[in-house]
């Protein structure tokens, strides 16, 4: 198993991860799916809903309101859960949450737990922990099941195995499901799904505890909500004796009405569906006249640094409803995939959230690896200003002297001139003339000292010659001289050649 605890994050080696990812032909092939599918589907389904932009405003406002009164809503939620016969456990750290979950499993003598997809479980490295303590976790979401088999972490918060091709999944199934006939046909995605279903069906029936995450927790009713497309979450939470909901504290929403508003933007933003196939609301354990359901219902509420984000610069990040739209639209994510980010959360939301959770000293690359193209913010259903917050991380890094020495000294050198426009003018005029002279023959450079990052992959254009400001100034002088000469009734002066004068239109095509 991969240990997902923060200390094993490979985020500090983002650059190496990215290089590996770019050279991985199969990964590159698999990543095409993200660009080709999610974006067009979201655009289509959002376009069909005239009030979609208003719904985004409303979703943002609901999340902001909840965060502003989170203490009240947590208390109200807890009260309702308990009224319905459930248990609420508060976990300050990931270790606390691990211990609480293990405690419940031990009390029930559980040996196998089934799991619905939960990013919070990934965040605290729950699978490794349970396994190390003799409890076998079985992921039941198809994508999660596949990455569990491969001992990987999810590469996307809603599509855990999006980094894999169908052929890779087939070979993984053949490697692990050795009890099945070797000559079985797994060419179609549906046959892969059927095989996973058959294998998992058995696990569902033998599991003692089911663990799910929660997309939302409703304070009004004490309800946990999951949205899935496979139905695995329902089986995970209704078949075993106990259902544990593992969720972070910011998942609260005040009312069912608020929930319905958020659901309207969630699936549309995520997969481009109007609604996910299953939207399952659970309130407490099985009641006497319920046909099914768990005998015990536990909620583990994880803080893990979130309450300290509430009062700070990254509070807006807590609005996130984990739809994945930001990564679906991110050119960096499209290029390197989710694993390169080195920890649980990837793409723009990961670039903002990961430093909050594992430290900017370890996750510094993530908010830097962005062109600030702004597409993430453009599609975020709760309008999180992701680029602005990535910039805030860069500011912290700079303040704490964590940015690389070469960046700092380069910046200082440039800033020295940029703060002194006249000196800047002299320096750039000299640079432009020199580069312009050297590069004149070919019009561009295939290699430049100190700019190999650029010239390794592209040519760099040679400057045309004198800087604009230098030319403009001499043109102004020419113009003044001209007006002086013409007002004195003499001959109009001639431009000094080049791109001078209003004659600025000048250098026409050579005769």
């Amino acid at each position: 198993m991969v240990d997902l605890a923060p200390h094993t994050a490979t985020s500090p080696w983002f650059k190496d991860n990215a290089r590996t990812a770019l050279a991985d032909a199969e990964l590159q092939n698999a990543l095409k799916f993200v660009e080709a599918n999610f974006i067009a589907r979201r655009r289509e389904v959002a376009g069909q809903l005239p009030e979609f932009e208003l719904l985004r405003d409303s979703a943002r406002d609901i999340r902001d309101h909840t965060l502003a009164h989170l203490d009240l809503y947590l208390a109200a939620y807890e009260k309702r859960v308990v009224e319905h016969g459930g248990h609420v456990h508060y976990a300050v750290t990931g270790e606390d949450a691990q211990r609480i979950v293990l405690g419940i499993c031990r009390k029930l003598g559980a040996r196998t737990v089934t799991k619905g997809k939960s990013m919070v479980a990934e965040e605290i490295g729950l699978n490794d922990f349970l396994e190390a303590h003799g409890v076998i976790p079985v992921e039941t979401d198809l994508g999660e099941y596949i990455v569990q088999l491969r001992q990987e972490m999810p590469s996307h918060i809603i599509a855990p195995a999006v980094h894999l091709t169908k052929a890779q999944i087939e070979s993984e199934f053949r490697r692990v499901h050795t009890h099945l006939p070797r000559d079985r046909n797994l060419a179609e995605p549906t046959s892969l799904l059927a095989e996973a279903r058959a294998v998992l069906r058995e696990k569902f029936l033998t599991a003692d505890v089911g663990i799910t995450g929660a997309n939302f927790l409703v304070a009004e009713t004490g309800t946990s909500v999951i949205v899935t497309n496979e139905g695995n979450g329902d089986l995970t939470q209704t078949l075993p004796r106990a259902h544990i909901v593992l969720a972070s504290i910011e998942k609260l929403v005040p009312t069912l009405e608020d929930l319905s508003q958020l659901l309207r933007v969630l699936a549309r933003s995520a997969t481009g569906q109007e609604m996910s196939v299953y939207t399952t609301l659970s309130t407490g354990p099985r009641r006497p006249d319920d046909p099914d359901g768990p005998a015990e219902y536990h909620v583990v509420l994880l803080d893990n640094g979130r309450s300290s984000m509430l009062g700070g610069a990254f509070r807006d990040m807590l609005r996130c409803i984990r739809c994945g739209a930001c990564m679906n639209h991110c050119p960096i994510y499209h290029a390197v995939g989710g694993h390169a980010y080195g920890w649980v959360y990837s793409g723009p939301m990961g670039a903002v959230l990961t430093p909050s959770l594992i430290g900017i000293d370890r996750a510094g690359h993530l908010p830097n690896a962005s062109t600030f193209c702004g597409r993430c913010e453009e599609v975020c259903p709760v309008r999180i200003p992701l680029p602005r917050m990535m910039r805030s991380w860069r500011e912290r890094e700079f303040e704490q002297h964590l940015s690389p020495a070469t960046v700092r000294s380069g910046l200082a050198f440039w800033a020295f001139f940029a703060k002194r426009p006249r000196l800047y003018g002299i320096a750039t005029a000299a640079a432009a003339r020199l580069l312009g002279f050297v590069g004149r023959r070919w019009g561009r450079f295939a290699w430049l000292p100190l700019a190999s990052g650029w010239t390794r992959h592209r040519d760099f254009p040679a400057p045309q010659g004198a800087t604009f400001q230098a030319q403009w100034k001499s043109a102004e002088r020419g113009r003044l001289a001209r007006s002086y000469v013409s007002s004195a009734g003499g001959q109009s002066g001639k431009g000094t050649g080049g791109t001078d004068g209003r004659d600025r239109r000048a250098p026409g095509p050579p005769p």
């Binding site: 830097n368 597409r375 700079f398 650029w454 045309q464 004198a466 604009f468 400001q469 403009w472």
Partner: protein, 259 residues
């Protein structure tokens, strides 16, 4: 008669145009003058984005203050770049938010700052240009122009009036080219992967000319196309709109014998 009414524009030429491609600055000045503005160029360096985006807020603020002072006298500030105009218009007010001395000045500068083509269309009411160019062009939307300033239709509307010019839209024209300022040298491999996709999208249009409103993006895309050996020229949209395409395209050497 028109002279005293003329809009007084301070041209924020941008550091890349100043250093690499002054002809874009002259094209911008020509377009502005033809639209009835008077154009002045106060001494200037850079908008401060490299510092701002590297987290060096103090330096960014110093440079911003200098720009605010230098451009205070003008009715408008116009830049042939969505990125630099966006810095002045969107991010300067952020830099000075809550500062009682500077915020009003930053807001005032933001209020009167425009990207060149949107200024010509939205403020000057320009709806056609007198230019001619036999070419098939494809236009790349720079991220800042598109998403920070909402510039999309304006350049296309004016380009449609250039005699002889056909416009062939590329797929994913709203997707970043991978330049990202210092990003392209800090993460060169990723930047390369992104611009490679962009170059393929450009080539797929069959266009012989790539246009955009930001020199940074253009240098990135042109540099990649040239490294790949593609025979597609790249120019700033202002050059075409001003009819000033006699200068060699970006990264192309001057013809032998030409001055």
């Amino acid at each position: 008669m028109a002279e005293p009414m003329a809009r007084r524009v301070g041209l924020f030429v941008t550091c890349l145009v100043d250093l690499i491609r002054p002809s874009v600055g002259f094209a911008a000045a020509t377009l502005l003058e033809d639209a009835g503005c008077t154009v002045e160029v106060p001494p200037q360096s850079c908008c401060g984005q490299p510092a701002f985006n590297s987290g060096d807020r103090a330096t960014a603020r110093e440079i911003a203050a200098q720009v605010i002072v230098a451009f205070a006298p003008y009715d408008y500030v116009v830049a042939p770049s969505g990125s630099c105009a966006g810095m002045l218009k969107v991010h300067y007010p952020e830099l000075f938010r809550g500062d009682p001395n500077w915020q009003p000045h930053a807001d005032a500068l933001a209020e009167k700052t425009y990207e060149l083509v949107s200024f010509l269309v939205d403020v000057c009411g320009l709806d056609r240009v007198k230019a001619r160019l036999e070419a098939t062009a494809t236009y790349h939307d720079s991220c800042s122009s598109l998403r920070e300033l909402g510039v999309r239709d304006q350049p296309r509307r004016l380009l449609a009036t250039v005699e002889g010019l056909r416009l062939a839209e590329m797929r994913d024209t709203e997707v970043c080219c991978g330049f990202g300022g210092t990003f392209c040298v800090k993460y060169p491999e990723i930047s390369n992967a992104i611009v490679a996709k962009k170059a393929a999208a450009i080539a797929a249009t069959g266009a012989d000319l790539l246009l955009a409103g930001d020199l940074g993006c253009l240098m990135n895309m042109a540099g990649k196309l040239q490294r790949d050996g593609a025979k597609i020229e790249a120019r700033h949209v202002a050059e075409v709109l001003a009819g000033m395409t006699h200068e060699p395209a970006i990264g192309v050497p001057p013809r032998r014998g030409a001055a």
